[in-house]
C-alpha cells in the first residue's frame, strides 16, 4: 500500500490519526455492545473503557460525555440496522412491497432486537431528524412509491411521521404489555399503513401477508 502524506501532515501524524480512530471505534463498539445487552444507561465510563480495552483517560480525548458516546453509538446501530434491511430487500423491485418488508422487519425489532426497540421508543419522533437509520430509508422508499404511482398520499414527510408514530406505538405497547401484542400485530399495522399511503385495501392485505425474505438476510 502506497501512502501519500497529505500537505502539511507527516506520516507519523497519520499513524497517530489511525490510532485515535481505532480507540474511538473501540469505545463505540463497547457502547453498542452495552446497549445491545440493555446495560447502556447503567454502564459507567470506567466499565465502558474496560469493555473497549482502552485506558480510562483516553475516553475524554474522544467524547465529552457518556451521552455523546451513546449518541454516536446509536447512530451506528441504526445505520447497521438500516443496512440489514437494505440487504433483506435486495432484488425487490416494487416500492410498495419493499416498504412493506422494511416495515414488517422494523416492527419485529420488538422481538428480535428489544434493545434497539427500547432505544427507538426512548428517542421518539425526534429520531426522524437523525441522518442515519430507518427514517431516511423510509422517506426514500415512500418517495419511490409515490413516483411509481403506488402511493397516492401526497406528503412523504407527513406519511413518514404517521408511519413512525405507528411503529413507535407498537414497540411501546410490546414493551408495556407484551401479552397484548403478537407478531401478527406488526403485519396488521403494515397493512393499515399501506392503506394510509393510498394502496387499495385488498392489495395492502396481500402485501402485508407476503412470505418473508429468508431470515438469514436480516
Amino acid at each position: 500500500m502506497v501512502e501519500v502524506a497529505s500537505a502539511g501532515r507527516a506520516p507519523a501524524a497519520n499513524r497517530l490519526d489511525r490510532r485515535k480512530a481505532r480507540t474511538r471505534q473501540a469505545l463505540i463498539d463497547a457502547a453498542v455492545k452495552l446497549i445491545a445487552e440493555g446495560r447502556g444507561e447503567r454502564a459507567s465510563i470506567q466499565e465502558i473503557t474496560e469493555v473497549a480495552d482502552v485506558g480510562f483517560g483516553s475516553f475524554y480525548n474522544h467524547f465529552a460525555s457518556k451521552e455523546q458516546l451513546f449518541h454516536a453509538a446509536s447512530g451506528e446501530v441504526l445505520e447497521r440496522w438500516g443496512q440489514m434491511i437494505d440487504r433483506a430487500c435486495e432484488g425487490i423491485g416494487d416500492p410498495a412491497e419493499l416498504f412493506a418488508v422494511s416495515f414488517r422487519i422494523s416492527g419485529r425489532l420488538g422481538w428480535t432486537h428489544p434493545d434497539i426497540a427500547r432505544f427507538l421508543t426512548g428517542g421518539g419522533l425526534e429520531l426522524l431528524d437523525e441522518p442515519h437509520g430507518l427514517a431516511p430509508r423510509a422517506l426514500r422508499d415512500i418517495k419511490a412509491g409515490q413516483n411509481a404511482g403506488r402511493f397516492t398520499f401526497p406528503s412523504a414527510e407527513i406519511a413518514l411521521s404517521a408511519v413512525a408514530g405507528g411503529l413507535l406505538g407498537l414497540l411501546q405497547l410490546r414493551q408495556r404489555q407484551p401479552d397484548r401484542i403478537k407478531e401478527t400485530s406488526v403485519d396488521q399495522l403494515a397493512e393499515a399503513i399501506l392503506r394510509l399511503l393510498g394502496v387499495p385495501a385488498e392489495e395492502a392485505a396481500r402485501l402485508a401477508a407476503l412470505p418473508f425474505p429468508p431470515t438469514g438476510a436480516w
Copy 2:
C-alpha cells in the same frame, strides 16, 4: 349558598383554601396567556407574577418551578381545547364522522392556535401519556368506532400513536415549511388516517370532505 364545613376544617381554613386556589388559578391563567402569546419559555417568574397580579413570593407557595407551572397550564390548555372539540362534535352520532371532525379541527391548530401547535410538537408522542387533552378523547373515539364496527383496525392504542404521529408531522411541517402545506393537507391526512383505521377508501374521502360545524362552535 349554604356552606357545610367539612370535618376537621374551620370556615376560616376554607376561606384560606379558596384564596390559595384563586392565586394558583391566577398563576395558571398568566402562564396560559404567556403560552398563547408565544412568550411561555422566555417569561421570568417575575413577569409571570406581574401578569397574574400576585406577589412574587407567592409563586413558590404553589409551584416548585416555572416548569411545574407550565406543565399545569399546558394540561389546562389541552383540556380546554379538548372541550372545545367536544362542543364542535355535539350531536354527531357516527363515531367515524366524529373522529374525522375532531382530527380536522386538531390539524387546523397549526393555523388557528399556532402556540398550542408548538406546544404539541415540542411535547411529541410523550403527550399521549397525558391524562388530559386530545389523546384520551381520541382513544375514546377510536374505541367507539371499533365498537360500532366503523373501524376495523384491532388495536386502538397503536392506531392512536399513528394518528398522533401523523398529526405531529403535519404540525411540524407547517412550522418548518409553511409554504408547503395548506389546510387541505389536514383533510388529506384525515382521509388517510380513516383508511388506516379501516374505513373503506370512498367512505373515508366522503367523511374528510364533509362541511364543518359552524366556526362559532370551535
